[in-house]
């Protein structure tokens, strides 16, 4: 999938067609990773080149749904960056609770739900799961279905367990799932206060206000223009003095709205909205 070189002009044809026909806008996705994803689709569907892909996208709406699922990068883990979760548990969440006993969290780009389950487990172990309303969104409905199902491959649980232990969870991760034919079936009770819903950060508008937004490893797939736009959406969706967490190798400092936030923890990339 790395062999093929796809031209920028070809990528434009793809994003233009998709925008026109399906009302999804990938025009401001980061070029190099988007290009690799397109090359991967060509290989997966054994297409000789972009013209074949364009023809198929043009006539086959069902194929577009598959394309959407393939083009997004869904790689995720439970308790990814364990030190991030320690910081949430020991500082950020207690801080939020000083002002509101009940609060709300938005996972933007939740993928198959591992991050949401991690959050639910943290809240459960703090004894406050029922005080928190969680909304988890993603552009990719296929992956959202997986999040709702929460049946994860047993082999993926190795890294999840390791992360949970490093985080310093109170029990064993096994307490929260049962094994069924090679799958770890998560305890659905954990997500009783979670609403999973389809939302596109590119075209979506603010739908609620939150005390904490997690958008980790999502904006790395956007270019600076789109990052600016999405940060505006998050700014609008946060209460004043509420928190925003991004991936550990991302930064807001190049964004237009950066001055409306302060860094709370630079290592874990947690920000706080300080200006309306």
């Amino acid at each position: 999938m790395l062999q093929q070189e796809i031209e920028i002009s070809e990528l434009r044809l793809i994003t233009d067609l998709i925008k026109q026909k399906y009302d999804y806008d990938f025009g401001n996705y980061a070029m190099s990773s988007f290009k690799r994803r397109v090359a991967r689709v060509l290989e997966l569907y054994k297409m000789e080149g972009v013209p074949t892909l364009l023809r198929r996208l043009d006539i086959d709406a069902k194929f577009f749904k598959e394309f959407l699922a393939e083009i997004t990068v869904n790689v995720t883990e439970m308790f990814r960056d364990p030190t991030f979760w320690v910081e949430l548990k020991t500082h950020i969440i207690p801080h939020i609770r000083q002002n509101n006993e009940n609060f709300s969290i938005w996972h933007a780009g939740c993928s198959s739900g591992e991050e949401v389950y991690s959050m639910a487990i943290v809240l459960e172990e703090m004894g406050i799961l029922d005080n928190v309303k969680i909304v988890a969104t993603d552009i990719d409905h296929v992956i959202l279905d997986k999040a709702r199902e929460a049946r994860y491959h047993i082999k993926n649980m190795e890294v999840n367990k390791k992360n949970y232990t490093t985080f310093g969870g109170l029990y064993n991760l096994e307490n929260y799932y049962k094994e069924e034919s090679g799958k770890a079936v998560m305890d659905q009770n954990l997500v009783r206060n979670v609403e999973f819903r389809e939302q596109n950060l590119v075209t979506g508008s603010a739908f609620s206000k939150f005390d904490l937004i997690l958008c980790r490893n999502v904006m790395i797939y956007f270019n600076q223009t789109l990052q600016n736009q999405v940060l505006r959406l998050f700014h609008e969706s946060l209460h004043k003095y509420a928190y925003l967490a991004i991936g550990s190798k991302e930064s807001l400092i190049w964004c237009e709205l950066a001055n409306k936030f302060i860094v709370v923890n630079n290592e874990e990339k947690i920000y706080k909205k300080i200006r309306d």
Partner: protein, 203 residues
């Protein structure tokens, strides 16, 4: 080290904009030695993609920094590539270069069983820097980087591999040799000499 200030045996008349270095098993000592002996005011940015443990976020860059003459940093997404800087691909992310000379990171699947994958760093850098790029591939136990070297060569960039007989494991450089023509096959000391000559050529 004996640096000839007269005529270099290397072709350096090509305002290089960046150097990418890839390495895996057996490359740590080589990299350490290179970083230790690099002139402090070395100008061409160096972007390193080294295979490393996925779940160990801290420690690696610190270990390299202990002996390095220059500070090594793990770049963040969208960070501008700057002269005189040395960068290392972070754990569990692919590191790429984007038009406009910024970094881009990604969590997509592993390539050649690796994340970060050298091929991704090399290919994206070749796309952006074209013939103004130098690629150096060191010791390693898989074929990651071979396609990247091929791409660098296709764009007119300069390709260097570590002398296979000197490598702890030579799969990586020999895979590159099978994939593409390589400009120079050099030992660690010769790579150092090359970088020093490049440095003197630029000041």
């Amino acid at each position: 080290m004996n640096i000839s200030l007269t005529k270099s045996k290397y072709n350096l008349n090509n305002q290089y904009k960046a150097i990418v270095i890839g390495g895996s098993a057996g490359s740590f000592q080589v990299i350490s030695k290179i970083l230790q002996n690099l002139p402090e005011d070395f100008q061409v940015p160096i972007i390193m993609c080294l295979h490393r443990l996925k779940d160990v976020r801290n420690g690696f860059v610190e270990a390299l920094n202990i002996k390095s003459a220059k500070l090594i940093e793990e770049p963040e997404d969208k960070e501008q590539i700057r002269k005189g800087k040395i960068y290392l691909a972070p754990a569990n992310y692919h590191l790429g270069v984007e038009l406009g000379n910024t970094f881009t990171i990604s969590t997509e699947g592993m390539f050649n069983n690796s994340r970060p994958a050298i091929d991704i760093t090399f290919m994206t850098a070749a796309y952006v820097f074209r013939n103004k790029l130098i690629g150096i591939l060191l010791s390693g136990a898989n074929k990651d980087g071979a396609l990247g070297m091929k791409r660098i060569a296709e764009k007119g960039g300069l390709t260097i591999i570590q002398e296979p007989s000197e490598c702890l494991i030579d799969t990586m450089p020999t895979s590159a040799l099978k994939e593409t023509a390589i400009d120079y096959t050099l030992t660690t000391d010769e790579i150092l000499d090359f970088l020093n000559q490049l440095h003197y050529h630029y000041v």
